[in-house]
Structures are given as structure tokens and as C-alpha cells.
Amino acid sequence: MINLIADLGAGLLTRLVQIGQALLMLLQAIFVQPKASSLPRLMQQLFVVGVQSLIIMLVSALFIGMVLGLQGYTLLSAYGSEQAVGQMVALTLVRELSPVVAALLFAGRAGSALTAEIGLMKATEQLASLEMFGIDPLHRIVAPRFWAGMISLPLLVAIFSLVGIYGGHLVAVDWLGVYSGSYWGNMQQAVDFNEDVLNGMIKALVFAFLISWIALYQGYSCVPTSQGISAATTRTVVYSSLAILGFDFILTALMFGGAV
């Protein structure tokens, strides 16, 4: 029993040390005076992290919007309220599904790639080489990737919501015959910019911070072997997914819990 408690304590201490190290890494990387020469590197990372994640986001958003349209119509038509399907699709997407699903996809698509890339740079001594040229790898490698994640995900979430709403329109209006005016009109009446859109964007920012931080730390601190990089990439996806779902509940409770 004592051993069990000691093991738990040791495990907890190790985790706390890791969180401390990860925090230090992030602070060292991001608290640096921006230079004009860093801009092309940020643009390149915005392309890799953001633009290259666009296709998977667009396709997923379209299908999720279509499913919401179909499910919403089936459910609401039983009560003769199918005209409210637009409001249901929009609120579900803007408040919950867009930030959460886009973040989960982002963790799988961009987060894992970031970890693998930095892990391989470590394994092939590229990070050590930068250090020997007198260049801090945290500023050169970690910082642009972090800011690219912070900028990309909120934009991807906004695009996700937009495409999802059009997906819902495609099924509910174009296929099942809900009146288009009701679809858009109810949506406009029900969706509040501060309450819904802004809160969704705050969620996206928090998730972007968590995913970028986890992915970059896992890559930077991984054991530089094929097994170590593979384990770090897996940890990025698992920890990011759990963090997204856990923080989503906390944020939802803080943002919308007052009405309960």
C-alpha cells in the first residue's frame, strides 16, 4: 500500500516536472522580440499547418452539417418545427461541434505532423546543428509553428462553421424542402454574436494553444529514435484529444452553465 502511494506520488511529481519543463519551453520560445525576418517562416508554417489542413476540414464540415440537417429535420418534424432546423444546425456547430471537431482533426492532421517533424529534426541533429550556429532552436523552429497553430485553428473553425451551415442547408432546404427563408431567418434570430460566435472562437483559441503546446513539447522532448518519435506522435494525438474534450466541458460550463 505504501509502495502504491509512493509510486503514485513519484508519477505525479514526474508529470509536474514535465508540465514545468513544457511551460518553460513555451515561454522561452514565444517571449521574444519579433523580427521582420521571422515573417517568411511564419507564412510558411501557416501554409503547412493551416492551408494544408483545409481540405480535411471542408469535407468533414460539409458531412457534419449534412448529418445535422438530416437529424434535425427528422427530430423537429415530429413536432412540426422543422423550420427551426437552421437554428439548430448553426447553434450546434458554432457553440460545440466546429471548435471540438476541427480541433480534433487539427490535432490528428497538424499536431502529429509537428511532433514528427521536430522529433526527426532532433534525431538527425538539425536542432543541435542550429544551436552550434548560435541560433536558438526554440526561436527558429518552435515559435513560428506555435503562432501558426494559434492563427490557423480559429480561422479553420470559422470556415468549418460556415461550410457546416451550408451542408445543413443542402439537406434540410434543397433536399427535404424546408423553406429557405425560415432556415436563414430563424438562424439569424437565434444566434447571438457575443454569446455564441465569440464563445466558439474563444474555445478555438484555447484548443489551438493546447494542441500547439502539446505537439511542440512532445517533438522537442522526444527520445530521438524511431520508437521515441512514434511514441511522441501518439502522445500528441492522445493528450491533445483528451485536453480538447476536457477543456470543452470546462469552457462550456463557464460560458453557458449560467442558464442551467
Binding site: E125, A128, S129, M132, G134
Partner: protein, 268 residues
């Protein structure tokens, strides 16, 4: 502080967990010479190179570079010192997203304020010195292992450093590439009046170009002398390593129980 080399290792101890890598290690590397650091695998040759480069800090003792204790330098001072030093990593460590030209130009763009023409000419001259001027537009993934190491060598000398550290430059190279690298290291050392530190366990190749050899083993310096003197040494450990003998004072087997005790179903 009185010193007797451009690089001085003073009473350095370094540990990895409970494992002792160095205990009170002392050695000096002379300016303008090629020094080969040799020893069996796992004796800390690369670790010593990283201690010299300031990538690792000793747990005890001092690493003095140009008479400065590396551990006492702040990041800016360390970076300034590193600008006087080139490193050839074992893997080459070329930046995979940059072409051969851009890899060699990288340290120049970062640290020197050269005009576009000056930079172009300097990179081309460095590539010419390693025989790869024609490969300037290739990407690292298109290079063979030997070519990648030559590009890395051109990059390491691009800033015209005073010291250059080579980590296993001959490992995994074919005989032609090995001979070319030998010639390059020797040639660059004399042309640029460099101090070269070479970590290797390719005895013949390293001894052929080295002015002095530091032989590491059991966490300390086993011998430090010219290659010829080491070849003639009667010291059992030096003799065993230099002549590549399996049996001797340097154990081939990792510490373990006697084999008879570990085999299953054997009568004791």
C-alpha cells in the same frame, strides 16, 4: 589563467544517471594541429565533443575554450564563441528543407552581413573545395552519404572558424569517400590554419592524418601521444585498442554473470 592548449579539459567529471562517463578527465588540444579522440564504443568520445561545443555542461571541472570557461558564459557569449567554431555532425545534420547552396549559405546569412555577390562567391568557393560546386541546386535527399558529409563540411568551414570538431567523419563511408574526406580534413587544416578535433574509431584513417591522439577508456585518458608513439606503445590497453585485439584488458563483454550460471538446464 595559464593554459597549454586552445582547448583544455580540466578535471572534468560527467555522469549519465548513475553511469560514470568521465571522472577527473584532463587533456589539452594543441592549436593548429589535428587531434584524434579515439577509444572503444561507449567511452564518451561524442560526449567529450559536446562538452567542448558547450552542448553539455560538465558536472565537475572546467572546459576551457580560448581560455574561457564555457560553463560561465551566458548565451550571447557562448554564441559568439561558437561562431569561431565549426562542427561536422555524424549524420551531416543538413537542413532537409534547404538546398545544398542554401545549407552552406545558412551560417553566412545568419551571422555575416555579406552582399549577395560576396555570399554567392563564398558559398561557391566552399563547395568547390569539397568538389560539389556542381551539386549546389540539389536537395539533401538527393545526395549520397559521402556527398552529404562533404556538404556539411563545406557548411562547417563557411564561417572560416578557428576550431573544427568532426564527429565520426569516416563512419559508414566507402573507401573512396573515406580517402576524399581524409584529404579534405588534412587540406583544410593546413590551408586555413585550423585546429581540428576528430572523434573516430577508424584507427588507420584517423592515425594517418592526426598529429596527436587522445585515447579514452574507463572514464579517463588512457594515453595521449603521436600516432607513431601509440602504435609502438607497450601499454596493454593501448596495444589492444590500436591493434584491434578482442582479448585484453578492455572487456569486449558487457558486465554479466558467468555464462554457465545464466544458461537454463545446465548442471552447476
Amino acid at each position: 589563467m595559464a593554459t597549454n592548449g586552445i582547448i583544455n579539459i580540466r578535471n572534468v567529471s560527467f555522469y549519465r544517471g548513475d553511469r560514470v562517463i568521465f571522472e577527473n578527465l584532463n587533456c589539452a588540444i594543441a592549436a593548429g594541429k589535428i587531434t584524434a579522440i579515439m577509444g572503444p564504443s561507449g567511452t564518451g568520445k561524442t560526449t567529450l565533443l559536446r562538452l567542448i561545443g558547450g552542448q553539455l555542461q560538465p558536472h565537475k571541472g572546467q572546459v576551457l575554450l580560448f581560455d574561457q570557461d564555457i560553463a560561465r558564459l551566458n548565451r550571447k557569449q557562448l554564441n559568439h564563441l561558437r561562431a569561431r567554431m565549426g562542427v561536422l555532425f555524424q549524420s551531416g545534420a543538413l537542413f532537409t528543407d534547404l538546398s545544398v547552396f542554401e545549407n552552406v549559405a545558412f551560417p553566412l546569412r545568419e551571422h555575416m552581413n555579406l552582399s549577395a555577390d560576396e555570399l554567392y562567391n563564398r558559398v561557391l568557393l566552399k563547395l568547390e573545395a569539397v568538389g560539389l560546386r556542381g551539386a549546389r541546386d540539389l536537395m539533401p535527399s538527393q545526395l549520397s552519404g559521402g556527398m552529404a558529409r562533404r556538404v556539411a563540411l563545406a557548411r562547417a568551414v563557411a564561417m572560416e572558424p578557428e576550431i573544427i570538431l568532426y564527429d565520426e567523419p569516416f563512419a559508414g563511408q566507402d573507401p573512396i569517400a573515406m580517402a576524399v574526406l581524409q584529404r579534405l580534413i588534412k587540406g583544410l587544416n593546413s590551408q586555413m590554419q585550423l585546429t581540428s578535433v576528430l572523434v573516430s574509431h577508424d584507427i588507420a584513417e584517423a592515425c594517418a592524418i592526426a598529429d596527436q591522439v587522445i585515447l579514452l577508456g574507463e572514464g579517463r585518458v588512457l594515453a595521449q601521444d603521436s600516432p607513431a608513439a601509440l602504435q609502438a606503445s607497450a601499454d596493454p590497453a593501448v596495444k589492444q585498442f590500436i591493434h584491434g585485439e578482442a582479448d585484453g584488458v578492455i572487456p569486449f563483454h558487457f558486465p554479466a554473470l558467468p555464462l554457465q550460471e545464466e544458461l537454463r538446464g545446465q548442471s552447476k
